[in-house]
Subunit: 147 residues, 2 copies
């Protein structure tokens, strides 16, 4: 069993890697029931000119094909947007660990209502990453959430 803070560290590493590449600093990882990393990734809008690769989608894609997800945990640095919340609901990912929901409040309440376990960590590294990024590149951030 891996604790939530240790799992979040991997998502934070991904977010920082994305920032270092000139991208949007949001990272995620999908874990199996034994704490194994199945897939990890970060937002790739800027890097690949790809609006569809949010961090959660990147981690989900990199985990490859699976028969089911109910015993998996998605860890993400930021509250998942509707697109990523829809991913969690459709594939019945059992648990979502969220670094912070202060700078953006996505669909995690909806996920709770549909039986997904939600853990919010209020992590100061995650808040600082997004706060600084939104202040520096509001254009990229609002493009990424379609606002």
């Amino acid at each position: 069993m891996t604790d939530a803070a240790t799992m979040l560290d991997i998502a934070v590493d991904e977010a920082r890697q994305g920032l270092a590449e000139g991208g949007i600093p949001i990272g995620a990882a999908l874990f199996g029931p034994d704490g194994t990393v199945l897939g990890r990734g970060h937002n790739r809008r800027v890097q690949d000119d790809d609006p569809s690769t949010h961090a959660e989608t990147a981690a989900f894609r990199n985990a490859g094909r699976r028969r089911h997800y109910r015993d998996t945990t998605m860890v993400t640095t930021l509250s998942p947007c509707w697109y990523c919340s829809g991913l969690v609901r459709q594939f019945a990912i059992g648990h979502v660990i969220i670094g912070e929901s202060t700078t953006f409040h996505g669909g995690h309440d909806w996920l709770t209502a549909h039986g997904v376990q939600i853990t919010i960590l209020d992590d100061q590294r995650c808040i600082a990453l997004m706060r600084d990024f939104i202040a520096t590149r509001p254009d990229l951030w609002f493009e990424d959430i379609g606002e």
Copy 2:
């Protein structure tokens, strides 16, 4: 202005191309306000070993980065699952044209409740494509919707 049936033909072409490649026969296209195809694509789970590329995500990705989507129309051969419905809601795509919702009923009622215009065509080609596919490859179909 392009009519809904003509727009759906492009999504059906994509679905048939996916089937010919050995994949899941669901296709989609994103159109601009003048009827221009911005992006088109089909489900690529089998072809790319990629669980994240549903048809709507493929069309959205292939359209590239845009500042907003409110005047765009997503055409898809099948009612969008929660993942693809979340995509439509997050990026505020204004209109979704759906080939059929008989073989699968996804999140389109939720989209209607959130102000998205929904048009369902009850297209017999789309129904036949999915009915035959589900009968032939139920394993792939249930994997694709996480059931």
